[in-house]
């Protein structure tokens, strides 16, 4: 048993820290992750990350990577997270679909996309959820019908968050319409150019001000060569990727800046002539959060270790996801309690504390236990796949 990092990993972290302290502004961090969406500054930052050798450490050399352990990517995510960055700017391509292209894509797809992903040049947008396919994702209805060298695709997706700036749609659609087969067996994955004729993107604005989107397909022609892996295997590829996605998206370090800001606030803020930091209840609440962040860290370390060593994961990343997402809500709730009346002030208000970050996180935190699968589905997965309880 070993909880340490190698000397090479530590050196990478040191170089990365120096780079991020210099380059990662709060504006870029917020474009990375928060309400603003990826803009020119985040795109530029993405290219710089790649140019300085911080992207692609764990990727095969033939596509421009370094062929090292995934632990380097996790270190990158941790250091970004500690600075409000939470993930790389072009996150879906780099931490989600790229891995599936590598595992399942044709050589042609790998050559076309992987190098650009590792260079931080292109972004994808997940096209999974539909109005009637949420937790029950396999019941999706989007239709892809063969016609010569193309698939003709029709239907609607929803909550496709990067659709308004991504170059490509990572689309799941039905390719077998036999009503007698299990519904997860008739789904395929496609890479669709977002500029294709027939695609319409309509914004949906969330309660925390982020843009997500509805995406409509009307007779969109997609070359067959843009199908990922085998026909009708798409749902398996999605599920196969989900554990690694959880490991890359639900990183504990992204909660550190919230706690650190609160610690700073209670030390500087007075009540009745004494700093809030001396209030035993506040001490207890913040200490509880610090304890849970340590627990979140070991959950993540365990799941990452499994992924890095190619140990089959069944429920472990799900546990990490459920825990970290719910911790985010508890942490934000503690923050709102500590800020008191001032907690309700928005970023642009007079008297706003901590730049409105806690208030924004409060709104945002309602999503974290829903996005990428609800906590309830997560617990079903833990109970059934992890603990062997029977399906209802």
């Amino acid at each position: 048993m070993d909880f340490g990092y190698t000397r090479e990993e530590e050196e990478f972290r040191e170089r990365l820290r120096a780079f991020l302290d210099r380059e990662l502004t709060e504006e870029i961090a917020r474009q990375n992750w928060e309400d603003k969406g990826v803009g020119p500054e985040a795109r530029e930052f993405s290219r710089k990350l790649a140019a300085n050798g911080f992207l692609g450490m764990s990727w095969p050399k033939e596509y421009g990577g370094q062929g090292l352990s995934p632990m380097y990517d996790f270190i990158l995510l941790d250091e970004l997270g500690k600075r409000w960055g939470a993930h790389v700017p072009l996150d879906v391509g780099y931490t989600m679909v790229g891995h599936t292209i590598l595992r399942r894509g044709s050589d042609e797809l790998k050559r076309e996309f992987l190098t650009k992903i590792i260079r931080g040049e292109i972004e994808f947008c997940l096209g999974y959820t539909e109005p009637n396919a949420g937790s029950d994702l396999a019941s999706m209805k989007m239709r892809a019908v063969e016609e010569g060298d193309f698939y003709i695709i029709n239907g609607q997706k929803t909550f496709n968050t990067e659709a308004h700036y991504a170059e490509y749609h990572w689309l799941a659609a039905r390719t077998d319409f036999n009503p007698h087969i299990p519904k997860h067996r008739g789904i395929s994955l496609f890479i669709v150019d977002m500029n294709s004729p027939g695609i319409t993107v309509r914004p949906l604005i969330t309660m925390s001000g982020e843009q997500t989107n509805e995406v409509f397909y009307e007779n969109v022609r997609v070359p067959k060569s843009r199908m990922v892996g085998d026909k009708n295997k798409g749902f398996y590829y999605m599920m196969e990727a989900i554990d690694s996605e959880r490991n890359h998206v639900f990183t504990p370090c992204r909660l550190n800046p919230i706690l650190n800001d609160l610690i700073g606030y209670v030390k500087e803020t007075m009540f009745n002539g004494r700093p809030l930091a001396e209030d035993p209840k506040i001490q207890d609440q913040l200490a509880q959060m610090a304890v849970e962040l340590e627990v979140a860290q070991v959950f993540a370390e365990h799941s990452r270790w499994m992924e890095s060593n190619e140990i089959p994961m069944t429920y472990e990343p799900e546990m990490t996801k459920v825990f970290i997402s719910e911790l985010e809500q508890r942490l934000v709730d503690v923050g709102m309690q500590i800020l008191g009346s001032f907690s309700q002030l928005e970023e642009d208000s007079k008297w706003v504390p901590l730049r409105g970050r806690i208030e924004w996180y409060f709104l945002h935190s309602f999503m974290t236990t829903i996005g990428a699968g609800t906590s309830e589905i997560g617990r079903n997965v833990i109970a059934q796949r992890g603990l062997g309880l029977p399906r209802g």
Binding site: M1, K267, Q283, A290, V291, R379, I382, R391
Partner: protein, 378 residues
């Protein structure tokens, strides 16, 4: 980063589980709750023969040279089996304190005998004034005389004092009652005149004692470590004890979850297995989350302690989390087991009663959160 156990560790854990399943059935656990001595000397001897008591002691002191993590694997299995007896007291509280602070002759005298199971030790730190846990609140006085110390005061919640051959008594040799400085440790023969113990009646029916020191004479050579500087030793021993207790708790909590899973897969209501109900599944998932988080943070803390890395915050986080986690797990376990688990003869109460004792041992979640608060600069 590596979460693998070595082959030796895996074998140790498996053989410990099999051994305890055979040698420490719940009938024995229940019998020992009512037994005055509280453990089986026969089983004690067998454990000693397996080398368990010296597992984390160096070979030069009769041990087998393992580390804290090896010991934790055993403690996890002991927690699973509800093993009664003074193993924890003698090895963790007694052995580790001597290992930390003892002179060479003291180590040579005590550790091999602890490792062979022939000598039982314990540690007396808590006092009547400790209405909130604080190992450094020490009023029991040790006054230096010509060639001995005179101990006067009362200790509470001293585990296994009734069977111990020696008690390590935490005493004040100077300074204020709550000062870390001025604490000294003494090896006290349990047969010393003026030393009286009495068993307390506890929720876990474990053997915790009140120990009175009435002008107990302790030879000067039985001072353990440097005079007035016992606080530093105590701090280190408390860290190891807290993590060792976490391992015991994780083992117990895992057993509770396993028991609930078996039950949920055989108990039918409304014509279905109750394990198919999402409410039950989510209880079980919550138990698993509590346990797995606790297990990894416990191992991580042990890994840091073994390397001598600074880990005050991590140890405190672990004991805080695991104390609460075990409590949650038994609470959910009772919900799943329902009426049958509320019966005295069921195994469930063995665990829920021990969960409370373990939560309180060496400080509960609230105590450790105070340490964490300090560590994060509050």
């Amino acid at each position: 980063m590596d979460f693998h156990f070595s082959e030796e560790q895996k074998m140790l854990k498996e053989s410990a589980r099999n051994f305890l399943a055979a040698e420490c059935p719940k009938t024995l656990v229940r019998a020992m709750e009512k037994d005055e001595r509280g453990y089986s000397p026969n089983l004690w001897k067998k454990m000693a023969d397996l080398g368990w008591m010296g597992i984390a002691f160096p070979e030069s002191y009769g041990g087998i040279g393992g580390n804290l993590l090896d010991l934790l694997l055993l403690l996890e299995e002991m927690g699973r089996a509800c093993l009664p007896g003074p193993f924890f007291s003698s090895i963790v509280l007694g052995g580790f304190t001597i290992l930390e602070a003892g002179s060479e002759p003291q180590k040579k005298e005590f550790l091999p005998k602890i490792a062979s199971g022939d000598r039982i030790l314990t540690l007396a730190h808590t006092e009547p004034a400790t209405t909130q846990f604080d190992p450094f609140l020490v009023t029991l006085k040790a006054q230096a005389q010509e060639n001995y110390y005179l101990l006067e005061g009362t200790k509470l919640f001293v585990p296994d004092a009734h069977v111990a051959h020696f008690l390590i008594c935490v005493a004040r040799t100077r300074g204020e009652p709550s000062s870390r400085e001025g604490i000294s440790l003494f090896l006290v023969d349990s047969q010393s005149p003026g030393l009286h113990w009495e068993l307390l009646t506890t929720v876990a029916r474990d053997k915790q004692c009140e120990v009175l020191f009435r002008r107990v004479r302790v030879p000067a050579e039985n001072l353990l470590g440097t005079i007035h500087e016992g606080g530093k030793v105590l701090e280190k021993v408390m860290q190891k004890a807290a993590i060792a207790k976490c391992a015991e708790m994780i083992g117990g909590a895992q057993f509770v979850l396993d028991m609930c899973l078996s039950y949920a897969k055989e108990r039918e209501q409304f014509g279905k297995l109750i394990g198919t109900f999402q409410a039950v599944q989510h209880h079980c998932a919550n138990m698993a989350i509590s346990i797995e988080g606790g297990r990894y943070i416990t191992y991580k803390a042990a890994w840091m302690l073994d390397r001598g890395l600074p880990c005050t915050k991590l140890v405190a986080s672990a004991k805080s989390w695991v104390s609460d986690a075990y409590k949650r797990v038994v609470g959910l376990g009772h919900q799943i087991m329902a009426g049958t688990g509320y019966m005295e003869e069921h195994d469930m109460p063995l665990y829920s009663r021990r969960a409370k004792a373990a939560e309180l041992a060496f400080g509960d979640a609230n105590y450790y959160k105070k340490l964490v608060a300090k560590e994060i600069g509050l």
